[in-house]
Assembly symmetry: C2
Homo-oligomer: 249 residues x 2
DNA sequence: AAGCCATTGTCAATGCCTTTGACTCTCTCT
DNA sequence: AGAGAGAGTCAAAGGCATTGACAATGGCTT
């Protein structure tokens, strides 16, 4: 990539000063997201962001106190996107399942952004609303106050940790990701039958496992456990009825 | 902190050259871990590491191709520490529970190191062995090959994601951690009863939830679900028997 | 309409980071 | 003893986050 845009390749004409008010927090956040989605973590820095906005390298500091401040705003945007128009379902298990899936979908759509901002807490309206819905589901499940609080953290943190860790992996260099996957494939197949008999037994199936299926498997496991532990399990997901059909692998 | 050690504060006597062979990969990894444990992520960089070793800022590059290479070695060290002397128990549920707890304990003991290296894969002997044990547990549980492979990934990735995300939070600036916790405490208590009725209902219990209890709660949920879904559940953890007593909150 | 002045965009600079290439010393092998 | 490779050192390039000083500008007061 040329260091100087073609339009002023042969001269030192400085970029014209940006009009006052050209930059807003909203514009900066959305450009950050675009940059992160297109170029990954390496394509994102405050200098690069400033240049991408057609502004000075340090212009962003007029709107965000620090890079961390900007990251929190990005986190807020993501959680808002994930929880947009979410309405709790009549069935508390559906509600929890839906929220976990939505969070993961959003994080996977913006892995670099998510990898920077997951695990941060913003106290934004979207976040508070999501918390309220999860706790509501736990109360619906019949947990008493202290237990409901505990189980909210358990399931909420689980959803966040899972989606965040997938995003973190996807935000690695494509090169490194490929290496990791290829190395595992090879390690599995080359394993010694006597030394690692269990791996050997499933060596051909291991590389075929798909990320989406893994997520659905752990989600189903967690929900099955919750169904078992809840004082008031929801009727519509009674183990022998619709549940296996809906989440069957 | 003074820029120049007292012993040569008044002169420009250069540090004597290190003897050949003073540095090894083992020494460097263990010093890295010490630095990360004591000073956190901010206290760790290749220049700082070199200085801490009494060597040149760039000396580490003679033993590791890049910082990423060093991070992988640190990851290997951690997984080895977590899985040291681990023997599968007679009960597959005990085995899985034990592994998840061990990984978390190790990661929480080295949060900064874990936050850099979690989610990376090293194919070291310790890692391969852990994989073999988990798959063995799944076969023990009666899952067929393809399902065993899937459930290994589900439970293995879950353990890694959870421990990693706790480490990531603990590796933040103490300042930021405190902010995050305090903000939540305040946000919960100040919540509007009409707007967020469920939060309001458990507002006093929420700030009291402890991290260890959250982990045990999600672990119990996952294990309960697994017990339910396994073709051959282990007898010793039949829901009505020892299980509730052992993992009761 | 004139002028104030806080806000916002720009510039220059600091100090840190990762990584590289050239160098120099030193240990080991012949 | 001499050679050569490996290990430690030095200098430097190019990036990043952040800061302080400076300058334009657009709304507000009068």
């Amino acid at each position: 990539m040329a260091a100087v845009p073609a339009s002023r390749a042969h001269a030192d004409v400085p970029r014209p000063r940006l009009r006052r008010g050209s930059l807003t927090r909203e514009i900066i956040v959305s450009e950050s997201l675009r940059l992160l989605d297109e170029n990954g973590l390496d394509g994102f820095s405050l200098p690069k962001l400033g240049r991408a906005l057609g502004a000075d390298q340090t212009a962003v500091y007029r709107h965000f106190a620090s890079k961390d401040d900007l990251v929190l705003a990005i986190a807020d945007q993501l959680i808002g996107e994930a929880m947009a128009e979410l309405e709790p379902s009549a069935c508390w298990m559906d509600t929890l399942t839906e929220m976990a899936r939505r969070l993961r979908t959003t994080y996977l759509a913006h892995p670099a952004a998510a990898s920077m901002s997951a695990y941060r807490t913003t106290q934004g309206p979207a976040e508070i609303r999501a918390v309220d819905i999860i706790i509501g589901a736990m109360l619906e499940a019949g947990f008493e106050a202290a237990e409901a609080a505990l189980m909210y953290r358990a399931v909420g943190d689980f959803s966040l940790a899972w989606a965040g860790s997938e995003a973190l992996f996807l935000a690695l260099d494509k090169r490194l990701q490929q290496n990791d996957r290829a190395a595992w494939r090879q390690a599995y197949l080359a394993v010694d039958r006597m030394e690692h008999p269990s791996i050997w037994q499933v060596r051909t199936e291991l590389p075929e496992v798909k990320d989406d299926d893994i997520f659905e498997a752990i989600l189903k496991t967690v929900m099955t456990g919750l169904h078992q532990l809840a004082p008031r399990p929801c009727a519509c997901h009674a183990p022998a009825q619709c549940w296996p059909a809906e989440l069957a692998d």
